[in-house]
Subunit: 161 residues, 2 copies
């Protein structure tokens, strides 16, 4: 990748993902957002669509990738995926399919599933531990636990496991 | 899982996935189809939508899962996913997220990416080695190689690697 974002740029692109997460919460949905950035240019921003589109596969990351449309392999390989929450295994698989080389994660305190697999397969995962991302998810888990458990494929009773 | 499909039932549900794959080819798309079956009942059938919907994330398996709509975790955990082609890592991740316990694969001669990961994580993967599934993909790779390479995140020049 020829483009190496500065820490300030990382914060900026993460803030766009957070904006998406806030929008999703305001719509009654899951507050997770993502942005796909190619060589400094935002290709697409997306957010979880479980509630809004009754979707089982549109998480923040997959929604952003879907909105970016059909792209040649080389574009993904020079892109960075910014996401407010540590990716689930579905979004991990999507990033691995397209060989996205770096993922910047807002936080992984409230949920972490697949960072080891990503790193094992050569993806750089940088966790910014952003307090606003944590707060968004803590409110979600407290106020909409049924939707959250559905979104990560667990029963509500298993949330604390 | 209480339901154990017979070999004949497996063939039947795979034939529904093949029907989806044929439809997709006739529409100018990628000939891969899938069916999600819960306790003997078809929840949804889908096919690759790269061409039809300009989609980067709707493969046969994810399209079927998306069409099945929002489901509780327990339903996926008692379902079988039938797919004409061995799942890519994105579809693998999706099956792992929802803990689908068994995947019946039409063929893995023309493409195989993630069966080891699925098995490692406890998923039963049964490959039926169906000649029609192989023929569908061989025609795809011969006649629409650019779309196929795009669909699996490689450059056309890398197809033979």
């Amino acid at each position: 990748m020829t483009w190496t974002p500065t820490a300030e740029e990382d914060r900026h692109f993460l803030s766009l993902a957070i904006e998406q997460a806030r929008t999703s919460w305001d719509e009654g949905g899951v507050p997770i957002g993502a942005v796909l950035v190619h060589e400094g240019e935002v290709l697409a921003a997306g957010h979880n669509q479980r509630v809004q589109k009754n979707s089982a596969i549109l998480h923040g990351e997959t929604d952003a990738i879907e909105k970016a449309g059909r792209l040649p392999a080389s574009v993904y390989r020079h892109s960075v995926l910014y996401t407010t929450l540590s990716p689930c295994i579905m979004c991990t698989g999507t990033a691995l399919l397209y060989e996205i080389p770096r993922i910047v994660v807002g936080e992984n305190r409230t949920f972490e599933m697949s960072e080891a697999l990503l790193r094992e397969r050569g993806v750089t995962v940088d966790v910014l531990d952003d307090p606003e991302c944590v707060a968004l998810m803590e409110r979600m888990i407290a106020e909409r636990p049924e939707i959250w458990s559905e979104d990560i494929g667990v029963e509500t009773s298993e949330l604390g496991r």
